[in-house]
Subunit: 218 residues, 2 copies
């Protein structure tokens, strides 16, 4: 397909597609002549992924580029490849409080270690402490402590078990795709695109629960 | 306590506290003399909440101010008060794709309505369609469709049920606080501060599940 069709089917403006091409986020099309190139379904799929990373994931171009390099890295085994791509995703989309090595940070580190032990999660990765997701968890627990809202292990276990169910359905979803690049792309897209689904459903669930407990005619 | 102690106990620099005071995010202290004021535990609690909203919630000052007005509005019944405060929280922290009234947006609207019906959630609010959380959900479902990763109702129900469990534990957590302003503050803080806990645990769960299914020595 030509650029015009690629733009129409993806919903991404031509100027933006050209920008992504210049930035190396999209492979060049197959050259037809001096001024035109042809694109295929793989370009379309990759273009949609790039748009999800940048618009929904709010990723800087450089980070998106690194993620795509990992997605395409066929030298890694499947588990490592998915891990490498998702590892590079920025620390969620929530902000983080400054990381100072205070009592709250130390308590948060201990809490995170205990939580993961109780959940029985060990990932298979050697360097858990470097994992952006793990650092994000520790940072979030420290922020709760500093804000005057320390969490109990019981509360965290509910969060952990819910997250565990989500992890299982997320892997079910990606396993519908062909092993290899298609699955890794699905893993990256799913991680980014389902975050607002989850956060919005949690807020709606809070409103529903608040209505049941405090509302009139619950 | 004086400004210095307020700064020390909250971990917020004095210059930042003065900024929050100027912006009306914090009530003035009780004036002692021309140059000094005294602050109390309520100031400390409010200061920690403001910092959580701005740093973790990445809220603009104007939005944080509106949230605090709702938190302090004792004219509303409890359910409405919590709802009003949480309603004003920005649409989570994930970006959103441009909202165009295309086929994906229409399908997303239908999916969201069906999902909430199946979950049996109705919130008690009259204007659900205006709810920022609801609009966020519809936007997220549309983005999934446009990105080439449409979700099934079965997948969404897993997300919905997990979110329901989180909503229940979130309400349990806020009910530990005294009814009134303290609970509403806790609701706002909890909504913002647990988002990175949830997002990080989901990523860790994905890594664990991927290890079990694809890793060596699972």
């Amino acid at each position: 397909m030509r650029m015009a069709e690629l733009s129409e089917r993806s919903g991404v403006p031509t100027a933006t597609i050209k920008y992504y091409l210049r930035e190396g986020l999209l492979r060049p099309g197959r050259r037809i002549n001096a001024t035109q190139a042809a694109y295929d379904e793989e370009h379309l799929r990759r273009l949609r992924l790039v748009r999800a990373l940048i618009q929904v994931g709010r990723m800087p171009v450089a980070t998106a580029r690194e993620v795509l390099v990992a997605v395409e890295d066929e030298s890694l085994d499947h588990h490592s490849r998915i891990g490498a791509a998702v590892w590079l995703l920025p620390e969620g989309t929530a902000g983080a409080m400054e990381t100072v090595p205070d009592a709250a940070a130390e308590a948060a580190e201990r809490q995170a270690v205990e939580l993961l032990e109780r959940l029985g999660w060990n990932f298979g990765y050697a360097a858990r402490d470097d994992s952006p997701a793990y650092r994000m968890l520790v940072g979030a627990l420290a922020a709760l402590e500093r804000s005057g809202y320390p969490c109990t292990m019981e509360d965290l276990l509910v969060y952990g078990h819910s997250a565990g169910e989500l992890g299982a359905v997320d892997l079910d979803m990606i396993e519908r795709y062909e092993p290899g690049t298609l699955q890794v792309e699905a893993a990256v897209a799913g991680t980014v695109l389902y975050e607002p689904v989850l956060l919005s459903l949690r807020r709606l669930a809070q409103a529903e629960e608040s209505n049941r407990r405090f509302g009139e005619g619950g």
